[in-house]
Amino acid sequence: MSVANENLVSRSGGLGKTAGIWHLHSNTINLLALLLLLLIVGRILSPTFLTAENLKIVLLAIVGTSIIAFGMTMVVISGEIDLSVAGIAVLSSIAGAMFLDTGSAFLVISVTLAVGVVLGFLNGILVVGIGIPSLIATLAMLGVARALANITSSGKAFYPDDVAGYLWFGRGDIFNIPVPIVILIVAALLSIILTKFTVFGRKLYATGGNVAAARLSGIRTWRVKITVFTICGLAAAMGGILESARLSYINPAAFPGMELRVLAVTVLGGAALIGGRGTIIGTVLASMIIGVINSLLNQMGISIYVQQVVTAFIILAVVLPGLKNRLVAK
């Protein structure tokens, strides 16, 4: 037995004694600490940073990425990857926008979500049914979906200003809490329940942890994978709706590079691209960390490009020690 391997496991946090429903991985604790640190730094730099108003702005900025990242986290736990999320978000939003003329928000939203589900399902079929590696299959899906969005809309954007029900998803309030934030919380709770407390969740982690063992234990791993791709498609469509409704602007060229931002958040949250590891809580925290950093840098008047560099370095700084533990035996 390889000693390096034993170290890997003992360092990954789940030592057993404390493990329970509320057990947090050491990675999660690190993220939580980093988030608190950033909030304190923010408070020191600016007295208005910790106000409800500012935190609302921070949260609103991360809603789309976060919700898509929940889907991505599940795909990554299953041992796959989905690079098509931005394409799905765009194409499903455009498909929904085709029905703006009817004035029915219900119809627009339903079509958008349905298209997201179908495209996600299609990803699943390409990967498990045909056996195309997910990196390639979803990269193709990204290209095709973006192209189709441009073709069907003739490259023109839509403005859902007249469909109040649609705009509500971006600008409405429920008990004084913005609708996108309510949806973010609901989506996070549902994702946590699904991954942590259901039989499906166990099957998901088993499939990503060791697909051969899972299959030989009678788990239909193909079903698990199709399901997570479908959920990810749904999440992408939902993220697309929230972002488009907030801006009141449905654009066939929207969300450039969104897949990489989502993936960055997922990885920062502790999901391992080899599968079997990752938590929704981690993804939530990672998303908030990125949001807080960007907000801080914004307030300091630092340009968006420098922000991207800083964000990248913070991801490396957080992810690297973990990687080092895995690679170097003590």
Partner: protein, 496 residues
């Protein structure tokens, strides 16, 4: 042997991990032209000692001398530089490269202008292969070789660094009997050339056969260093476990056999054909054969992990053609895979997660996992099989090989399947756990379940089974009832 400086000397080596003293003042030495074996149960400290010798881990205290000089290795590369090579238990080669490229990986001879000199590479490789008297094409892809041949390539790779000391960690774990014989021949050759060899194995017969001296480790301490001449298996076992115990014996019990639960009628696919046999309630049926006899393919096809193209498979009186393991499990078939790390367990999940994996759908209320039931069931299984764990939520990767195997068995007992396929259930498992595993399999049969058993060691199979069928090249070549068992006649059918 004359009193010279030993090639390798380990003096008072200790290694502590948090909460565990893995090695406690271990001393060990190795002379030129000597095979010195290291044995002990899983967890006795063999792996830790090897990692310290080879620079993968740093000892807490103690010294290592090579050729009388103090050696401080910071990595396996340092060790190789000081002419100590290690051949790992699990093959660490690249199947996509050629044999020659693998042998000289990281040490490729450079041609003019730093280009790779394939001709010289292959010439040097054939020299090394010729020294071991094997005919392997150095320009062939490694992945196309048999496991045995790959093992030999791995040894060549160790030899390419021109070592004085070679450490062989369980080199025969996945080889069959005549491949083992071949490998032992190679080791004798190396010994004649004056190399010192540290040999680690669970197979006591070959240890006794090949060694000059044998050191027994138990709980991180050296219990004894004996000359191989004059010791026997029983003595070694009692040194290893600390008391006399005969593994695998006395576990067999005669049982009443019931009705036929599984009947294969001339089944076949691209790997095997015309395979017919039946299995009765309460019976333990062994399938014996050498590597490549395709018995693994046969049992996988019974479990729906491979397709059956020809013939009929009747399970519980119904003709079946399983499309997936899921279907087979629904029909009461269990499969304990030999390769527990690859196929049996999800290593980064807990003991409870792994044991409940086969019965997730029964432990649910409205899709939610009933955590209480999972834990309760797991505790029962841990008691039943005497699995040593610190908590039900311990990760299975932290368990010893024997306990991991018990988890694999436990997850299928939990499922209450009535046909159980067990593939090499004691692979890489120490003597004590072996006994408990055989005991568990016997009691499954006593409860009226039918068992199909595949093992690498024929001896084990003869101890455990009611009946053995022998396969060779994808076909059944013989059937033996228990009263007809004889290693010689059974092995004879391997080559038909």
């Amino acid at each position: 042997m004359t009193q010279t400086t030993p090639l390798l000397e380990v003096r008072d080596l200790s290694k502590a991990f948090p909460g565990v003293q893995a090695l406690d003042n271990v001393s060990f030495d190795l002379n030129a032209g000597e095979v010195h074996s290291l044995i002990g149960e899983n967890g006795a400290g063999k792996s830790t000692l090897l990692s310290c010798i080879n620079g993968l881990q740093k000892p807490t205290s103690g010294k290592i001398y090579i050729d009388g000089r103090l050696a401080a290795f910071n990595s396996p590369v340092d060790a190789i530089g000081q002419r100590l090579s290690m051949v790992h238990q699990e093959l660490v080669l690249c199947p996509n490269l050629t044999v020659a490229e693998n042998i000289f990986l990281g040490r490729e001879p450079k041609g003019p202008g730093g280009l790779k000199d394939t001709a010289r590479l292959e010439r040097d490789a054939s020299d090394l292969l010729a020294q071991l008297r094997v005919s392997i094409d150095p320009s062939g892809k490694l992945g196309l070789l048999s496991l045995n041949e790959q093992q030999i390539v791995e040894i060549c790779r160790a030899l390419a660094a021109d070592p004085k000391v070679i450490v062989l960690d369980e080199p025969t774990a996945s080889l069959n009997d005549d491949q083992v014989e071949h490998l032992l021949g190679i080791i004798r050759d190396l010994k004649k050339r004056g190399l010192g060899i540290v040999y680690v194995s669970h197979r006591l017969n070959e240890v006794l056969d090949i060694s000059d001296r044998i050191t027994v480790l138990r709980d991180g301490q050296v219990v004894a260093t004996e000359r191989a001449e004059g010791t026997d298996r029983g003595q070694l076992v009692s040194l290893m476990v600390g008391r006399e115990r005969k593994p695998g014996e006395n576990v067999y019990s005669r049982r009443e056999l019931g009705e036929i639960v599984l009947d294969a009628q001339k089944i076949g696919n691209s790997h095997f054909r015309d395979v017919s046999f039946s299995l009765r309630k309460g019976e333990i049926l062994g399938i014996a054969g050498l590597l490549g006899c395709q018995r693994e393919a046969v049992v996988r096809s019974l479990f729906g992990a491979q397709k059956i193209d020809d013939g009929k498979l009747v399970v519980h009186g119904k003709i079946q053609n399983f499309r997936s393991p899921h279907d087979a499990i629904d029909n009461g078939i269990a499969f304990m895979a030999a390769d527990r790390k690859q196929e049996g367990l999800v290593l980064n999940m807990t003991v409870a997660d792994n044991i409940s994996l086969t019965i997730l759908d029964r432990l649910t209320a409205f899709g939610f996992l009933k955590r209480g039931s999972v834990l309760e069931m797991t505790r029962k299984m841990i008691d039943l099989l005497a699995i040593k764990v610190s908590a039900v939520t311990q990760h299975v990767s932290q368990l010893s090989g024997g306990n991991q195997q018990k988890v694999v068995i436990g997850k299928w007992i939990a499922r209450k399947c009535d046909i159980i396929i067990a593939e090499d259930p004691t692979r890489g498992v120490d003597v004590g756990a072996k006994y408990e595993i055989w005991r568990a399999i016997q009691s499954l049969a006593e409860e009226g379940r039918a068992v199909i058993l595949l093992t690498t060691e024929l001896e084990e199979m003869m101890t455990a089974c009611d009946r053995i069928i022998v396969m060779g090249r994808g076909r059944i070549t013989g059937t033996f009832r228990r009263d007809e068992f004889s290693a010689e006649t059974i092995a004879h059918r391997f080559f038909v």
